[in-house]
């Protein structure tokens, strides 16, 4: 290293040349994962199991999703590990397919909510002025009505097909995403590097996507985890009320409702789908907590 370079002053500089960005990012992620607390590791494992089951449900289950295989309410035992439901369908099979349907739809809904809310939030913060006012007031109006009741209302009007369900929940949840995205973006758009980009003459696309968005990712990703849980619970709640996924599609909310009578006989089977919901929610929150802690900690030493 020659004296010509300033690197002789800074201590950081005399290390060996860093590996190419991709490798480095991967190894960094792996290192971070190994250092993660136990709760986060458990959370990750649980989520992976759910995803595995959801993806390979047809291979893992002995029967078809809505196939009637025996008498109603058969007890646990050979042939039906978790018994059968009120129509004589295998509980375990329904549970696995339920993972696929409920998680899949919740995931799509959350992504949609983030696309709508995230983009409009960042745009509102970057543009400011009347655009910001317009977006924010629309969101205020939507948020003024209790979400579940509003969802029930809309689903009664538009019918209960899966696209409508996804769209209604996504729009309602995007209001929360909007508020968060706008709030965190407001802190970023006042930074000098955004001003520098504006003065360079950059368009809105570059400023929102390249300058602002990468800097608000940590809170957004954390929110994604939480929001996913809420959407998941909303779908389950709607299904329980009969306005969510329609039979014969298996999903955990309606499975609880359909078999609720069993509880009076001291059978815990109807609680298993509920437990599946609870476990996933807890797992996602473990991971989100760790992520939040990690990103906020990183911000300290920058």
């Amino acid at each position: 290293m020659t004296d010509k370079y300033e690197s002789t002053v800074g201590q950081t500089a005399d290390a060996v040349a860093p590996p190419p960005p991709h490798e480095r990012r991967l190894s960094d992620a792996w290192k971070a994962l190994k250092k993660a607390p136990l709760s986060a590791k458990i959370g990750i494992i649980v989520i992976l199991i759910y995803v595995f089951i959801a993806l390979f449900a047809p291979l893992l289950t002995p029967y078809g999703e809505s196939e009637v295989v025996g008498a109603e309410f058969e007890p646990w035992g050979e042939g039906y590990l978790l018994g059968t439901d009120n129509l004589g369908r295998d509980m375990l099979t329904r549970l696995f397919y339920g993972a696929r349907n409920t998680i899949g739809i919740a995931f799509v809904t959350t992504v949609l909510a983030f696309l709508i809310g995230g983009i409009s939030g960042v745009l509102a913060a970057t543009l400011g002025g009347w655009m910001d006012q317009l977006f924010s007031r629309i969101v205020d109006v939507l948020m003024a009505i209790p979400a579940l009741i509003f969802a029930l209302l809309l689903l009664t009007i538009f019918g209960t097909s899966i696209p409508v369900l996804v769209l209604v929940i996504a729009v309602l949840d995007s209001t929360r995403v909007y508020r968060l995205a706008r709030a965190v973006s407001l802190n970023v758009v006042v930074m000098d590097f955004v001003e520098a980009a504006r003065l360079r003459g950059e368009g809105m696309g570059w400023i929102t996507l390249k300058e602002v968005l990468p800097n608000i990712m940590p809170p957004l990703v954390a929110e994604f985890g939480l929001r996913f849980c809420f959407v998941f619970l909303t779908i389950a709640a709607l299904s329980f009320l009969g306005l969510g996924l329609q039979p014969p599609t298996a999903d955990w909310g309606s499975m609880v409702r359909d078999n609720a009578t069993l509880i009076t006989y001291g059978d815990i089977t109807p609680l298993i789908p509920a437990a599946a919901i609870a476990l996933l929610t807890v797992a996602v929150n473990f991971v989100v907590d760790w992520f939040l802690h990690k990103t906020s900690g990183l911000r300290d030493d920058q």
Binding site: Y5, E6, A13, R200, K210, Q302
Partner: protein, 553 residues
């Protein structure tokens, strides 16, 4: 080793072989590597060094305190015969604030904004049982008076945001004095203040420390300041002692090479002038008046900047110097008047300017941390203007980026794929310069570009800017409140006060009398290396009555 003339009471603090470790990435790294600090009663010790030298850490260790993420891993700390290391945390807490107190760099951040000054003053003495509330209040008023705060009987009943920065720093000093400690640690107490305010705070701090014969550890990176305050100076680097001596000896005859480079920093002077005022000015600000809403911050400002010229704009915060830059860049369209480039008027709003007009003027910011996107690699930060303005891509782009990195004296292959978080402050500022250069501008606005940097690093940046000017014929508008920087780099100087230009002329003229009254105040407030400078200045001002401005600071 303690040959200072002023100490009279014998040993107060003795730290031997002090070692402190800090946690980085789960590993403990030594940040103070066996330093001895000895302090007598009534003595003022100056700790100087660049950031990262461990000065603040050592200062806090005098209270046996380590910041979160740090730990004192070795050495002894004996305060007035008591071994602090052997004490319990509870016993140490009884000492802190009573016998040893601390004045932080940012008074604004250290006061609780929700409580009145005097309530916060009284908290310490009352809590520690030194005084009751009424006595504490009376004492506060007495100290406020001694610290020359305006209206000392009532100022304590204000909230922190209702007094100025300089007053707040003095109120903080009063608070540190509340229990009449034996030792006060001042951690860069004037760094965040304007020069004219700094002087007043320095004078009152020194005065009160003398009145109560309090020992002090004065931490700063400004040599001229430490020369005024300290009886003895310790120079630190990378957590080790470089040199220690009496102030007078240290100033006149530094021994170590590192100390000499510190001392030499202020010697940088721009070599030759390369501009020609007979041509059309490159940038002309023509009778500009600008306002934020109803508040007018610039009143009818006019000045010209020629090709290859550096114009320094000086003034306190709030004088309108940054606003002038915002008008030129088009962030704040002027109410009246216009900005001309090579004789042609620019649209007032940057959004209506052409790409070419935007490319022509670039900006370098004060805080390099926030001026570059932390989520982009250096490649993208510097590469974007090249892509955007010059349409470079592929190998051309890569080569040009490397060329720019060479130009700012950073090794291209090492830095091109780094994130800003992996750079030091000076390196970040160099990246900002490279980004500005990438647009191939003719004119660059430098907004306090060196004020957040250590002196040695800052000098490197100034030298770089000067070299680029000579090589590329650039023009600079240099906004600063540091007159040493002006002396180093400016061709012409504009002094601003309350949105008006009060003096304007070539540098040499500015630094020779007669001056405008305000220029005189600014110039005389710049600390000089002479240890007697502050005394002489205060005496002179007392005679002239300049210090009456204290009440309005």
């Amino acid at each position: 080793m303690t040959s200072s003339a002023e100490n009279d009471g014998g040993l107060l603090l003795e730290m031997r072989g002090l070692r402190i470790e800090g946690q980085a990435d789960e590993e403990w790294q030594e940040i103070v590597k066996g330093v001895d600090v000895v302090l007598n009663r009534g003595e003022v010790l100056g700790l100087i060094g660049e950031s990262g030298a461990g000065k603040s850490t050592i200062g806090l260790a005098a209270m046996a305190f380590a910041r979160p993420g740090c730990r004192i891993s070795g050495g002894s700390i004996v305060f007035d015969g008591m071994d602090l290391m052997a004490m319990s945390e509870r016993e140490r807490r009884k000492l802190r604030g009573v016998r040893i107190s601390y004045v932080a760099q940012s008074a604004a951040a250290s006061f609780n904004p929700a409580h009145k000054l005097i309530d916060q003053f009284a908290e310490g003495p009352v809590e520690h049982g030194v005084r009751n509330r009424a006595e504490a209040e009376a004492d506060a008023k007495d100290l406020y008076k001694r610290l020359l705060l305006p209206d000392p009987d009532n100022i304590g009943y204000r909230y922190p945001h209702q007094v100025s920065g300089g007053q707040l720093q003095r109120a903080m000093t009063a608070m540190a004095m509340a229990c009449r400690p034996d030792l006060i640690i001042f951690d860069e107490p004037t760094t965040a203040l304007d020069v004219t305010t700094q002087i007043e705070v320095l004078a009152t701090i020194r005065n009160i420390v003398e009145q109560f014969n309090t020992a002090a550890i004065y931490i700063t990176h400004d040599l001229a300041v430490v020369a005024q305050m300290a009886d003895r100076i310790m120079v630190l680097r990378y957590g080790e002692l470089v040199e220690e001596n009496d102030t007078a000896n240290m100033m006149s005859a530094p021994q170590e090479d590192y100390t000499k480079t510190l001392w030499a920093v202020r010697t940088f002077k721009k070599q030759s002038e390369i501009y020609d005022t007979s041509t059309t000015p490159l940038v002309a600000v023509d009778h500009v008046t600008a306002a934020y809403g109803p508040l007018t911050v610039l009143h009818d400002i006019s000045f010209d900047i020629y090709e290859g010229q550096t114009v320094a704009v000086v003034g306190e915060s709030g004088s309108g110097k940054s606003t002038a830059a915002r008008v030129i860049t088009g962030l704040l369209p002027p109410k009246q008047g216009q900005v001309l480039v090579k004789g042609e008027a620019l649209p007032g709003d940057y959004r209506r300017r052409s790409k070419e007009q935007l490319r022509h003027a670039q900006m370098i910011y004060q805080m390099a941390d926030t001026a570059i996107n932390p989520k982009q690699r250096i490649r993208e930060i510097i590469g974007r203007p090249l892509q955007f303005y010059l349409g470079l891509s592929g190998r051309d782009l890569e080569e040009k980026i490397k060329e720019l990195l060479e130009m700012i004296e950073l090794e291209p292959n090492q830095f091109i794929d780094r994130f800003p978080g992996e750079l030091s402050g000076g390196q970040k500022q160099r990246i900002c310069i490279a980004r500005a250069m990438a647009a191939e501008p003719e004119f660059i606005i430098c907004d306090e570009v060196t004020s957040a940097l250590d002196q040695i690093v800052a000098e490197g940046i100034l030298r770089l800017l000067d070299r680029l000017q000579r090589e590329l014929g650039l023009s600079y508008m240099f906004i600063t409140h540091d007159l040493a920087t002006v002396r180093a780099i400016a061709d012409e100087v504009i002094v601003m006060l309350q949105g008006k230009i009060v003096e304007h002329g070539p540098k040499d003229e500015m630094f020779t009398p007669p001056h405008h009254e305000y220029t005189d105040l600014l110039l005389s407030s710049v600390p000089e290396m002479d240890p007697n400078w502050l005394d002489e200045l205060m005496e002179r001002r007392a005679q002239e009555g300049v210090m009456q401005s204290t009440s309005s600071s």
